[in-house]
Amino acid sequence: MLMFSFIIRLKKITEGMKIQLFGISKDIVGQRELALPNDPSLQTVMDLKKWILHQYPRMGNLSSIGIAVDLEYAEDDQPIGQAKEIALIPPVSGG
């Protein structure tokens, strides 16, 4: 059962999950979305942040990086396998 659910989750991530980008993170990546690789080590929000920082070191200069999972701010230990929608949230500046 454990193995089965693990495979399901991996499958979800590989099924073309994309991270939506806004503001400066969109400028750094140079596009509006970032496709996630088929990488079984990408299990949590923290894994995702590390992967993004590795791919785009300039993200490390930002004041903060948040991840929203299904329109909610996510904690670092939150799993991302069941996510329907993921977005990278650079420091906000509305108002």
Binding site: Q20, F22, G23, I24, D27, N61, L62, S63, A68, L71, E72, Y73, A87, I89, P90, P91, V92, S93, G94, G95
Partner: protein, 137 residues
């Protein structure tokens, strides 16, 4: 009693009409607009971008929190997106209540929180560069 919107252009009369309530004696409106300088330099224009569904969801949460903390009749949050010139309104927050203290306190709470949590980003255009506000320490 909650009115949340992302718009191209803010219309103030719409805000007043919505907030007006026969049982409310007072309303407080905060209006943020484009300043002509930042970082000691002239701002030519601004551009706002939002993660729209999440911004709406976060603004609704804030309005809900305000309604739980203060006895309010109406709560309104309208944020403009796209390009804005110096002087144009970019955000309007309004609350109405029977007693004006509640309107003042809740309005201030909402703009303070909005600036911290709602996924909207502001790009300042100077004559020589553009800057995403708050992006860097």
């Amino acid at each position: 009693m909650i009115h949340i919107k992302l718009v191209d252009n803010i219309v103030l009369d719409e805000a007043y009409s919505y907030l007006q309530d026969p049982e409310a004696g007072g309303m407080d409106l905060f209006i943020g607009s484009v300043r002509n300088h930042a970082l000691g330099k002239d701002v030519v224009k601004l551009e706002f971008e939002a993660y729209e569904p999440m911004a709406i969801s976060e603004m609704k949460k804030l309005a809900q929190q305000a309604i739980e903390k203060w006895p309010l009749k109406k709560v309104l949050i309208i944020h403009a997106l796209g390009e804005k010139q110096v002087g144009e309104p970019v955000v309007v927050i309004g609350t109405s209540s029977a007693h004006r203290q509640d309107a003042f306190e809740s309005c201030r709470f909402l703009i303070d929180e909005l600036k911290m949590t709602v996924p909207i980003w502001k790009k300042e255009y100077f004559t020589d560069q553009t800057v995403w506000v708050n992006a860097h320490p």
